[in-house]
């Protein structure tokens, strides 16, 4: 596959490194080009068969090609200009006109330009000889096509001008010349120019030895074959294939670079032999010899180059693969999660990353040996679910992506949460054959989650619970279930006796610890003794990884028998005082968990706050009742005038009748006297009733509810307030409907409400002129139950007052306390009803209260 990014030419790289000295190194390169060209030309002439004029290899072309491939096209002109003098000087040894000398130069220039351009467009510049494609293109373009083109063109020109006669000979000669050069010299120069001497130095010592061996071997072979030459046309020269193994060795072990070097050696040897008349290339005419030589070399070179390229490519691939594996292994080691690969049929673990050992607590080899091990380590509660899900997944049932959470047990008993995600590889039939995934240890997160859940649950429970007794078993259960503990207990401090007493226990159904529970029930703990005692005296949570090993733990032996090991406890704090202790037990041995203890301490104080709140509520309730009582009395105070009047009526009548009786007795009218006495008794009775009624109002009785007829109560209250009504000239009207359902309420409290509303109405009406009409009505309402309305014709209420009316301490009376309506409302609400006020359309205000009837309560 093609390497994606073409590398930059050496010159470009150089120019990037030294941008500030472009001219300097351009000059340097130009000089090198010039020198190289000249030297190359000299070398080529040296290797020329004396009787011919054409060289066997034309090295300067290789130099030019190399420089063109290493530099950007815009600089090429410079190099040609630099090479031109060298060419002229070199070629001048042959003599001839300048024009004649220039002709081959232009041809060479054209050839290298074509080659270079071709390579730049189709391959990379410079070409990478260890990639097959590049190598192929190089051979095709630089070694074959460009020379061929130019050679034919040049030959045609020469022939047409008349300098040469045999077109084919000339063209062929030039072509093979350049081809040979391209196959041997050009790659070497290119590779040398690119990697430079630095590349040689990088080799390891071993390779030097090998290189030396190879060199010796090849040299030796050449020398030996040199002397054993069999001369004869038609026979395959030993000289040709003897160096073959060595060249192969060079190709395999040293790549295209090494190959080219040795190839050059072989070529040089062959050429020198030919020149001196030895070797297999001396049989024919010099020109033909040269041809044979060149063809032989080409035939030798081309396959070997391809082999070198192939091998180079393969080596690169291997290198890349090895690097990739390195990276993967590094990642596998570095990542804290477990990466795994499994073949599915048969089930075999292909790879498990080393983190497995840390998370599972088992050596990786165990898993390789026994793939089922991963199921065995799953917590029994989760095993079923995980196995089922996995089986369905690899059966291809659900989605292609598997995402699951489960718990495992480490060998030391600790439980960890695993989050596993996987992917399946499908074969051509669409059936999964490979599974791979990543397993993360999410224990910390899970624990934090669970702690949050417990916290939230407990907070909610405490917010909605009515009593402590109701909520504590729920809390024990919540903590055990969410945090996977097996048993929870509640202890309560008995301040008088100075001990902690057992209150209750909750345990998982599957856990039976009868003896433990039984002994705990009867136990008490002194401060500092046992886990609860310790928590009490220290006012801090405590953790015991294994109670069986703890010397202070009183119930250790029983715990051991019944398999309870880890324990922790925390105090329930009311302010700074411990009012209780909760402790929890587990069948596993667990390591201390400070986060757990911190959270439990929070819960302990939350429970304490709950207790405080309940106490405050109770106190408030009590205070409210006190206040209700006081207000009753205060209302009574307001009514003193009426009460006095009420009582004085029967008393006055009593006195009158008594006086009458005496008179009758004086007149000796016993009949009348008896009557009088009877009347006196009635009067006394009535007085006593009034007293009783008033006493009842003043008495601080807790609400005593009973089934009441509301109209009856209304009439009683009207009687009580009668004098007040009359004194203030109020026209009282009642509209009490018949067939009222019974209400379940406290008579005295309802009377208080009615009384208060009536007194308010009366007082409102006193303030204004105009008719004073008080209407009291009652009716049964389908939705609300029973509704009673007290309607007056006073000044009425504005909307602002309507809101504030029922607030405590809101009053419009100068002497008022402002508690009356607030208390009325709380009484009505305590009965499940509502109390509200409205402004009448014509004049005055109406106060309504509703009470639920029997149907609603049922």
């Amino acid at each position: 596959m093609r390497d994606p990014a073409p590398r930059q030419s050496g010159a470009e790289q150089i120019s990037r490194i030294r941008p500030s000295l472009p001219y300097a190194h351009t000059a340097l390169i130009a000089l090198l080009v010039c020198a190289g060209y000249y030297l190359g030309a000299e070398l080529a002439f040296m290797l020329r068969i004396p009787s011919t004029r054409s060289a066997i290899i034309w090295v300067p072309n290789a130099v030019l090609l190399a420089v063109l491939l290493l530099t950007p096209p815009r600089t090429w002109a410079i190099w040609f200009l630099a090479a031109l003098p060298a060419h002229l000087v070199a070629q001048s040894r042959d003599g001839g006109f300048v024009l004649v000398l220039l002709y081959p130069f232009f041809a060479n220039v054209a050839q290298v330009i074509i080659a270079a351009m071709g390579l730049r467009c189709l391959a990379a510049a410079p070409p990478r000889f260890n990639i097959l494609r590049d190598m192929t293109l190089f051979v095709l373009i630089a070694a074959i096509t460009a020379p061929a083109l130019i050679s034919f063109l040049a030959a045609w020109l020469f022939v047409s001008v008349g300098w040469e006669t045999d077109f084919w000979l000339v063209s062929r000669g030039r072509f093979l010349n350049n081809m040979t050069t391209g196959l041997t010299v050009a790659p070497l120069i290119l590779m040398a120019a690119e990697s430079g001497l630095a590349g040689l130095r990088r080799r390891r010592g071993q390779r030097y030895v090998e290189f030396a061996l190879l060199a010796v071997g090849l040299g030796g072979t050449l020398y030996l074959t040199h002397t054993w030459t069999t001369v004869g046309a038609g026979s395959i020269p030993l000289q040709l294939y003897a160096p073959l193994p060595f060249l192969l060795w060079a190709a395999v072990r040293f790549g295209p670079g090494g190959l080219c070097l040795f190839l050059l050696v072989v070529a040089a040897h062959a050429i020198s032999g030919t020149i001196s008349g030895r070797g297999p290339y001396v049989a024919q005419t010099p020109a033909e010899n040269v041809l044979t030589l060149q063809i032989s070399l080409a035939v030798l070179a081309i396959p070997l180059m391809f082999v070198a390229a192939l091998i180079g490519e393969r080596r690169k691939k291997e290198e890349a693969l090895r690097e990739s594996e390195e990276r993967f292994r590094w990642m596998g080691d570095a990542i804290p999660d477990v990466i795994w690969f499994t073949a599915l049929e048969p089930e075999k673990i292909l790879y498990v990353s080393p983190s497995f050992e840390r998370i599972w607590g088992l050596p990786v080899e165990d898993l390789y040996r026994n793939p089922r091990l991963w199921t065995e380590t799953i917590l029994p509660e989760d095993r079923d679910h995980v196995n089922k899900t996995f089986a369905r997944w690899i059966a291809g049932e659900k989605v292609n992506y598997h995402d699951i959470e489960y718990r495992i047990i480490q060998p030391n008993g600790a439980i960890r949460w695993i989050h596993e995600r996987g992917v399946l590889r499908l074969n051509d039939q669409g059936k999964p054959y490979l599974a791979s995934g990543i397993s993360t240890d999410i224990t910390e997160r899970k624990q934090a989650e669970q702690r949050l859940i417990v916290q939230h649950t407990v907070t909610q429970m405490l917010a909605t619970a009515a009593t402590l007794e109701e909520v504590t078993p729920k809390i024990l259960q919540a903590v055990c279930k969410c945090l996977v503990w097996d048993l929870g207990e509640l202890w309560c401090t008995d301040r008088a006796a100075g001990v902690l007493r057992w209150v209750e226990v909750w345990h998982k159904e599957s856990i039976e610890a009868p003896q433990f529970v039984a002994t705990s029930r009867d136990r008490t703990f002194m401060p500092g003794i046992g886990l609860p005692g310790r928590v009490w005296s220290s006012r801090e949570p405590a953790y015991i990884p294994d109670v069986v090993q703890d010397s202070n733990f009183r119930r250790a032996s029983i715990a051991a028998r019944e398999g309870l090991h880890a324990a922790f406890g925390f105090p329930i704090l009311l302010g700074s005082e411990v009012v209780g202790v909760m402790d929890f037990f587990s069948q596993d041995i667990r390591q201390p968990d400070q986060d757990l203890l911190d959270m439990m301490a929070t819960i302990g104080s939350q429970i304490g706050q709950f207790i405080e709140r309940k106490r405050a509520e109770e106190a408030f309730h009590t205070a409210q009742m006190e206040l209700a009582h006081v207000t009753r009395v205060a209302t009574l105070g307001e009514m003193t005038a009426s009460i006095a009047h009420e009582i004085n009526q029967p008393l006055g009548a009593f006195v009158n009748n008594a006086g009458a009786c005496l008179s009758w007795l004086d007149a000796e009218n016993l009949e009348e006297a008896r009557n009088s006495v009877a009347l006196m008794m009635d009067d006394a009775q009535r007085a006593s009733e009034i007293i009783t009624r008033i006493r009842a109002l003043v008495k601080k009785a807790p609400p005593q509810k009973d089934w009441l007829e509301i109209n009856q109560t209304i009439r009683e209250v009207i009687a009580l307030a009668q004098s007040e009504v009359q004194r203030n000239h109020i026209a009282l009207e009642t509209q009490l409907s018949d067939d009222m359902p019974l209400v379940f309420a406290d008579r005295i409290q309802l009377q208080q409400v009615m009384l208060n509303l009536m007194m308010n109405a009366i007082e409102a009406m006193i303030q204004v002129t105009g008719p004073r009409e008080l209407l009291i009505s009652s009716e049964a309402d389908d939705s609300k139950g029973v509704v009673v309305v007290v309607r007056d014709s006073g000044p009425g209420l504005d909307s602002k007052s309507l809101e504030r009316l029922f607030e405590p301490f809101y009053t419009t009376k100068p002497q008022g306390m402002g508690m009356g309506l607030a208390i009325c409302r709380s009484i009505v609400q305590a009965h499940g009803g509502r109390l509200w006020a409205t402004t009448n359309r014509d004049r005055g205000a109406s106060f309504h209260f509703s009470l639920p009837t029997g149907e609603e309560l049922a």
Binding site: A641, S642, A644, H645, E646, I647, N648, Q649, P650, L651, G652, A653, F654, V655, N656, N657, A658, G659, A660, C661, L662, S663, W664, A667, N669, E672, N675, S676, L679, D682, D683, R686, S723, Q726, R727, H729
Partner: protein, 207 residues
Amino acid sequence: MSEPDAMVFVVDDDAQTRDALKNLMRSVGLQVEVFASAQDFLRSKRPDVPACLVLDVRLRGLSGLDLQKRMAEAKIEVPIIFITGYGDIPMTVQAMKAGAVEFLTKPFRNQELLDAIQQALERDRSTREQRAKNEELHTRYDSLTPREREVMTLVVAGLLNKQIAGELRTSETTVKNHRHQVMEKMGADSVAELVKMAYKLGIATVK
């Protein structure tokens, strides 16, 4: 039924009080009539005997004090004794200023009430007597001829017969005759008495 010589009216909205008071009155031999409301009392036909009214201040409808006012407006001169279960000073003062005989708070001593009733009845008696006397005087005066009335006016003014004759342009004798008639008809024994009568009648003005 024979005319009683005195009458006590009781107005109280409380039944037991009414009964008790009725019992009490009867036990001391007083005639009593009870009413539940002021309106009932006003509507009733009262016998023309000395009477008094035992009245509760707090009543349904028209209150006791209002009744007092009404009676004053209607010139019903029955003396009133107020009784009440609870009274305050302003109430008392108002009642007494408006001419009540007594103001009692329950429970009061029976004797107090009876004394007050006696006092009231006495007052009523004397009032009635006074009224009766006044009426008689008026009747007598009405029986005089106009001439006699003139004479009477002048006599009462202290004029001698001669002067009266001169005033009236008549003879002295005639004057004397008239004078004699006046004295007869008016039933006055002396001129001084006549003068008193004149004052009572409101004709003693001097020209």
